[in-house]
Symmetry: C2
Subunit: 221 residues, 2 copies
DNA sequence: GTGAAATAAATATGATCAAATTATTTCAAC
DNA sequence: GTTGAAATAATTTGATCATATTTATTTCAC
């Protein structure tokens, strides 16, 4: 059983990426190389590589002075992400719909059940994980590397803020146009899948935007 | 002595990035760590960091087996890039137009003169450089980090192929809707700037697409 | 053509040096 | 005598390199 032998830098990358994607890191939080070396018990070269990669993807942000932090989004950045997500993700979903398989549909149904369960339990962490799984299982089916990597970058940028919003507002009012997307897939109606994902994004992003505007009014920074 | 003391890994990154952006590296060409260490006379840690970053941006591609190469685009990847560029770049131009300054206009005029000169001389390298300078001087004015970083990633992906096409077809028939864009800026007509950049991209990308289809017909791989 | 040895390149560690932040001390002013 | 600001010392963190280990590929023998 020769294990896949994933390189350390890839393991560190995956670990950090998930932490950012699922809100284990707070916006504004500093990320130190030495801290990760101690915490994950690896050398510093792999850590550095992982950090450069995540910085390039927008998941982390390099300040001028050698410091790396989890970015906290401003309203203008949020609008950019909103625009880009609407431009990229529904298209990915549409392409995926044209290549749909029974396997894709059954996978998505299973995942969506878990999404619903997480919402019912009020478990933000599980919701973020399963919601991500749903979208990227769909996007992966599009077999469109370039668009998918853009989508991942956008999710990484918004991950920490999603968690923060969920923590304040709970799991009520979370978007769920997943049913409509699945219906579109089984009906081979790619434009229905397109609009389902579009609506799903709009709901989620509007949620974040409203929270951000509210927060801005409450606390000055 | 106001040297900014740019770190090695950033210098290596910038160097490699320009080489890819302006076609000094051929699609399919392997990029080795050792080679860069010898060529640029730096340690391997900075080289590794630069390579990870460029890989994350899509400028380089990691094969499964520890090899890194300059990706060569297939037709389906080209279509993805085409779609994404049309979704992102005209929007960036439009935002920039709404924040236009006299300084921006004069900068763009100067750069566009250099673009025309490069076309007249048939100097592909200079054309790629000045054309990039024109677009990103405009995009930079939008002050939209997220969209701009997506645009950069897309340019990095298509850079090597642009050079290859230019090498085969020369500088004739290269797009130049730059005049229209500048006209739109001085007229404060942001939708005119939007469509100017849109047309510019279409011309350039159609050029690459046609060449790619032709090449596919000629040589099998 | 298959398998084992050789080669070359990538991965990973720890040490060393440089830079930046934090803590501390000193000195001056009230 | 206490407070506050500036300067300096100390600690933490980042950047780079040299080296050892692992892994993929190639070469050569059978």
């Amino acid at each position: 059983m020769t294990s896949k032998n994933i390189p350390e830098h890839a393991r560190v990358y995956g670990c950090l990426r998930d932490m950012i994607l699922f809100g284990d890191l707070v916006p504004g939080q500093p990320v130190t190389i030495q801290g990760l070396v101690d915490q994950l018990d690896v050398g510093m070269t792999p850590v550095r590589e992982a950090l450069r990669r995540l910085t390039a993807e927008g998941a982390l942000m390099a300040m001028g002075n050698r410091r790396i932090v989890v970015p906290k989004l401003g309203l203008s950045h949020l609008e950019e992400i909103y625009y880009a997500r609407l431009a990229i993700e529904p298209k990915l979903a549409e392409i995926a719909a044209k290549k749909s398989t029974p396997r894709l549909v059954s996978d998505l149904q299973i995942i969506d059940d878990r999404v619903d369960a997480a919402i019912a339990k009020g478990d933000i962490g599980a919701y973020l994980r399963e919601n991500h799984a749903f979208h990227f299982r769909l996007y992966r089916a599009a077999e469109a590397e370039v668009l998918q990597s853009i989508a991942l970058s956008l999710w990484l940028r918004i991950g920490p803020s999603l968690r923060a919003v969920g923590g304040r507002r709970g799991t009520t009012n979370l978007p769920d146009k997943h049913d409509k997307a699945i219906t579109g897939l089984v009906a081979s109606d790619s434009s229905m899948v397109y609009s389902a994902i579009e609506e799903d994004l709009r709901q989620g992003m509007d949620h974040v935007r409203q929270d951000m505007i509210f927060q801005n009014g409450e606390e000055a920074d």
